[in-house]
Symmetry: C2
């Protein structure tokens, strides 16, 4: 009933290796841990491989939570108005309790990012808000690394058709598969060793940034003159993370970024997005924003402006930053030249910022309460949305508290060799 | 990625009508109700139609809970021993709370009933027991009709291949589809009207049985000489039920039975199964059992005896009866001559009994506590497993408390015209 292996228009051996990467590098699954995997039905060929690897690695129980984009679409086409304020709170509360009970978590990205692009933006925003609210307890478990978790990707036909509209479907899927496998290092002979080396590089970059203890970062380039204050006691993260229970995981497969928590009240100036933002099925292009005291006070977009304005109106924290991330413009994903219409990939093509919830993990003390995090400048929100502000035209300086300047990036590349 | 409509080897219009039956007759979904649908990925063509009909009928949120038989199988093939005592309690607890919060429930049967037939019976039994325990709160909401619910079926290839091993897959699926549509009355011009007429017939039969207030039923035939005491204040049910919130539903699509609650301590004699029992992937044939004081004291089977013995050892209630059901041997499903290897269908081909949990609904007062139900003879257990004891060779009498006898069935048919 679902695509069989013989029908996969790409190398199934690389899909096997992606499953290994997802469980051993991404989730870092420990023997005896349960695993919750969320995925669209289109990703079943990967989901099945992941379940096998997880069980082989000693998983307790693998619980697949399979959604279906046709059913999601049916809601927008058929449902009464009241439907769009509903969300399955019972399901997300249950997931949150499972994460608290040592279940690991993996999400497979595969959906057409434009699935809801032609639907009523008000309905999409309301449904998104209801979902975000329902998801809050589970999201806090995840962002606080109460358990080990990861996100990886599968080349589903609808996504491939969006990226390569002029190709036949099988050729498009093959091309997306090749890009996913390369970015996820599943094309390597020994992907786990490749990830170990990559994690070591990211760690060296984090250490350099941590050692400099910058008070803020200053961005300059076309349409951008932005100062981002960093949170007190911030710490740079990237690549491998460690859960509160001491389990190593790579939350994003792929990942090229190092990132930390900005100060929610110390962001000022103007910034122009350097890539489109695909958000809940809409494409938002040409974002231009002005910050004052950490808060977005002016915002416009050349396309999808209504969606962007709704997004930043989700709650007070949606207008403030929760993440600042550095990615060289020469990153492999940037070098591919592809626009994936998906943050998991596109954020790794450029330096970026995220509106909304900060990562509690990006502090020297990772066991702080919400109040302690807020006191250090950490933002809270029901959203976390990344968008790209880096390019080969952007320079970034690190500023000390006393005004000293250190070049961090020049023309989109690291200014210092390590 | 999943079977498309053009690839369905049967009449898609009848599948549309089955979705109408499932929502309007089966679940009886009310506007504003949420709906949880559990199904295997193989049933997506029906699941998608059901979601559309549910939203068209005013559903709040349709939450599909999609399982995948390949992942289920991967567990048995790959998992460490400790896995088989695990169950997703957080998920079933969440479902129970959703049912309490007015979510309706629909399950689509489609799996190959023999999915686990070649797996270690000990692992299958342990996993089944863990699942049964985790499912207990949700099952109590269902069997107590705290919400409206239903089960229907989809002709998945693996199930069709099992039933028609000598046919090509498409032909087998077409034949199973035809049988499901006919039994579910989805082959009728106006299936909802057909179900209304059928429900009226079942209601008349229930009324006749209720009016006679039999103290017990006596079964005689080859290998069978069994007296089944009925619970005090029992009431016969069948066809349409009404939830505690007053919503009409048909819990089984199809259904031909009328049934009630036996007295868990007043069953005695011997009984021989008249059809095989497919249980958790095993086929149990030639069951022969002796009851004393309501309890199974001797049990054997010509095939799958080990599985049957494990089943009745699940808990104390697993050795006692929770349901007694009457079905004429001429029922449409019996007339089809097919063995479906699935209780939803096969129980409608013959009179049957169920081991385990009783239906709280089968009493004159349907709002009794567990203690009140037990005081009237209602059984409780973490299992509920039906098996067939009726055939054209079986006679059934109704016995009054003072010993009076009334013929109920002769040669498997109703003894009285109504
Ligand atoms: Zn990021
Ligand atoms: Zn982010
Ligand atoms: Zn029954
Ligand atoms: Zn039953």
């Amino acid at each position: 009933m679902t695509q069989t292996d013989t029908a996969l228009p790409f190398d199934a051996a690389q899909l096997d290796r992606l499953a290994e990467v997802a469980i051993r590098v991404g989730v870092g699954l420990r023997p005896g841990q349960d695993l919750i995997v969320t995925a669209d039905a289109a990703a079943l060929p990967l989901l099945r491989r992941i379940a096998k690897v997880a069980y082989r690695e000693g998983a307790g129980l693998v619980t697949p939570m399979i959604s279906d984009s046709a059913i999601t679409r049916a809601r927008y086409e058929m449902a009464a108005d009241h439907s769009f304020d509903r969300a399955p709170g019972w399901l997300y509360d249950g997931m949150a309790s499972a994460y608290g009970d040592n279940s690991a978590r993996l999400h497979i990205v595969s959906d057409d990012p434009m699935l809801l692009a032609d639907q009523d933006t008000d309905k999409v925003a309301r449904a998104g808000k209801a979902l975000n609210q329902a998801y809050t307890p589970a999201r806090k478990m995840i962002t606080g690394f109460q358990t080990n978790w990861s996100i990886c990707a599968y080349p589903a036909p609808s996504w491939a058709r969006l990226m390569f509209p002029d190709m036949a479907e099988d050729a498009a899927v093959a091309k997306l598969a090749e890009a996913i496998f390369a970015a996820s290092r599943a094309d390597r002979e020994d992907p786990v060793a490749a990830w170990n080396a990559h994690n070591a590089e990211l760690l060296a970059r984090r250490k350099w940034l941590d050692d400099h203890r910058f008070h803020s970062l200053h961005y300059s380039g076309p349409g951008t003159d932005l100062t981002i204050g960093l949170a007190d006691d911030h710490r740079w993260k990237g690549g491998k993370s460690t859960s509160k229970k001491g389990v190593d995981c790579n939350p994003n497969i792929p990942t090229e970024e190092v990132f930390t928590t900005p100060h929610r009240e110390r962001v000022s100036g103007i910034v122009r997005a350097t890539k489109p933002l695909a958000h809940q099925g809409s494409l938002i292009e040409g974002i231009e924003v002005r910050f004052e005291g950490g808060r977005i006070v002016e915002a416009k977009a050349s396309k999808g402006e209504e969606v962007f304005l709704k997004l930043i109106d989700n709650d007070e924290g949606a207008r403030r930053l929760g993440e600042v991330a550095l990615v060289p413009a020469s990153s492999p994903i940037s070098a591919s030249g592809l626009l994936f219409y998906n943050t998991l990939f596109d954020e790794n093509a450029a330096s970026h910022i995220a509106l909304g919830q900060c990562y509690a993990d990006c502090f020297t003390d990772t066991k702080m309460s919400d109040e302690e995090i807020a006191a250090r400048g950490g933002n809270s929100s029901m959203i976390h949305v990344d968008w790209m502000i880096g390019s080969t035209e952007i320079d970034i300086d690190g500023l000390d508290a006393d005004g000293g300047r250190t070049p961090v990036m020049r023309g989109g590349e690291w200014a210092q060799a390590l």
